[in-house]
Subunit: 399 residues, 2 copies
């Protein structure tokens, strides 16, 4: 029987760090064990009713392609009903609708990097950045940030020490998945200065823009002065409206040459999902009260969760100021082994807990080995129970 | 003002050949001119009512991710309600649901090729194969097929002459976009033999499997003996159910190692569109009468269109046996100039015609310069009018 060889990508594309424990969880659930899922950013929050209604009311007898850049109607609505309202002077021509933030990242990496080029990120960073960059032959280079300084932005000098002639961009996720760290105006201006000095792109993943828990207004990369041609926003309806499955995101930039090139990539895949565009168009009718309610709920969850974590002996979590994740240090040698053990062996009254080991979010070897990413995406009573399980598990664990 | 440089992809990724004339068409339409669109495979055929109903009946309060490989429910339904019914012994584990055929192609190219590797295709071939392969650093190599022999498959010796140590796969679109050529059992076995001898993959794009107009039953690459590990099907709901905008396709293979690798790519982009999966799940309820009605309609359109084209002095089209395209030769020097002229200048009672130049579907320089791709995706009275416009235009044209 012939057996053709695969590409070398089998060596350099890892299985998803976020999903690698899934079989253990499925086995536990098959045994009737209740698993609290704090492992993935799949919240229980309701989408705006206008999104649900838009899909229910959508009439079609067949479903043709939309424009490759997304329907003009959606790009206009994004402009007027979202960006302009939150103070970003975006116009429809600045927007290219993508199959969620994932495709946006992939397109941008391909447009700004040739194989062997480098993109700089503060570690820990969203682990799929690595996979997508590797699929495009791009090296993600990490600037270390540390849990003990609450993942604060390193100095400009420290960041610039990592810039080489192959560095094409800095990528920032603000607020951050996985740490929940929120960069304010000072940090964003500092990053902008570096990009301006080296004339490299600033890719800013603002998928969690609405999830900020400080009083200071959000400072978008869009507002960095004199950096129009360098700033590229990655955006997404997934978390903002809890429409992860709609697979709608967008690229926003004033760099015409960049968008023109990405349009060519976009034409090759024809168009973004049309029904997801319908749902997003509906979601854009949501008013400020929707975001306010969601924000208040997450602040309450965050406040509960971080205090409860820090109350467990040996556990430490900084206080995240955005998104709905935190990276916490556990009193274990190897968090990955601990997470597996939780799913495979530990039960408290027939329940257990799923967390994501943080190590794959770092690229410096050995970093984050005793850390986990926790998504506080459940209601407080469930979070309370999950923390209790964690506390008891840490007492029992011999690993 | 800084201006960061883009990647070299700006040089090697062309604008879509299918969409490059769009601005001319938009200008004509803005002037109030009616344009008959025979340029794109966006048919007017209705989707199954069960697909429409599935979307209308779908209830959600938020929209979470599905499994990265597509929901198990959809993969089971694809198996039982489609593949097994059309005689393909596929099981749910053989299927990975993708964001339409486009993503399926991109994933497969990346899984079987390293940069600099080659994939062989019979030209003319679907022009987005080139774009997707270039984005993955892969060279598409063309084996020429000719309009004068109705794009018949070349001899095995001629095909093998193009195989080099870097050739990783042969890609076949059967029936073919853009020519409508249908390979029968003999041709598929011949291609299978080549792949077996050289132990390379056979990527078979069967998006138009239901659109076959001969009495002979369709012979899928799936049925080639002793080639289990080499055959990879690209499939799509887009044309089959006229759900182009749903963006649902799939990869089907018995090669576990290949699917395991592609699953890692799939995890990095999280999941295929969930609402598109809902529509497709509904569409799978369509029974044989749906396909029968669509097939009869296309046979009638094809019969009308090909006769009408060949009745125009100087025009020649072979008789396509599948899909809903044909490649026709026109009595002009440069079909691209002619297509632009149709949109920009020619009017017959306030109407004109949009066709796609065939040259970008060839990779041998100079081939197909006087050919066009015609999609017969309108009702016969409209096709009749479109052919009349073409006939009059050819008389007027001085190019």
């Amino acid at each position: 029987m012939p057996m053709p060889v695969l590409s070398n990508s089998s060596a350099y594309i890892p299985a998803s760090a976020i999903r690698v424990l899934t079989p253990y969880a499925e086995r536990a659930e098959a045994e009737g064990i209740k698993v609290y899922h704090l492992n993935i950013g799949a919240p229980d929050i309701k989408s705006p009713v206008s999104a649900v209604k838009a899909v229910a009311d959508f009439r079609f007898d067949h479903l043709p392609y939309s424009n490759s850049a997304g329907s003009l109607e959606l790009r206009q609505a994004l402009t007027k009903k979202y960006y302009n309202k939150v103070g970003l002077d975006v116009c429809p021509d600045d927007i290219l609708v993508t199959t969620a933030g994932s495709e946006a990242l992939s397109f941008i990496f391909h447009a700004v990097c040739d194989p062997g080029d480098e993109i700089l990120a503060m570690e820990p960073f969203y682990c799929n950045y690595s996979t997508m960059s590797r699929m495009n032959g791009v090296d993600m280079k990490a600037v270390h940030t540390d849990i003990d300084s609450a993942f604060a932005l390193p100095s400009a000098a420290e960041i610039e020490r990592h810039i080489t002639p192959r560095t094409r961009a800095i990528i920032v996720c603000n607020p951050s998945n996985p740490t929940g760290t929120l960069y304010g105006k000072a940090e964003m201006l500092a990053i902008g200065d570096i990009c301006r000095r080296h004339d490299i792109f600033l890719i800013c993943d603002e998928a969690y823009r609405e999830f900020c828990y400080t009083e200071e207004p959000y400072f978008s990369a869009w507002h960095i002065p004199d950096l129009d041609q360098n700033v590229v926003l990655v955006d997404s309806a997934s978390k903002r409206y809890n429409l992860c499955g709609a697979r709608i995101g967008c690229i926003v930039s004033r760099n015409r040459e960049l968008l023109e090139l990405i349009t060519r990539f976009a034409q090759a895949r024809l168009c973004p999902p049309v029904l997801g565009q319908v749902a997003t168009l509906g979601a854009l009718e949501a008013d400020a009260s929707y975001f306010e309610a969601v924000r208040n709920e997450y602040i309450a969850r965050r406040d509960f969760m971080i205090k409860a974590l820090n109350d467990i002996p040996g556990v430490y979590s900084p206080v995240p100021e955005g998104a709905f994740y935190t990276v916490a240090r556990l009193p274990v040698k190897n968090a990955s082994d601990f997470c597996k053990w939780l799913l495979a062996e530990f039960r408290l009254d027939g329940e257990t807990l799923m967390l994501t080991p943080a190590e794959p979010f770092y690229s410096t070897p050995g970093c984050g080995r005793n850390e986990v990413r926790i998504a506080y995406v459940l209601e407080i009573p469930q979070l309370k129970r999950a923390v209790k399980i964690l506390e008891k598990a840490l007492v029992s664990y011999k690993g």
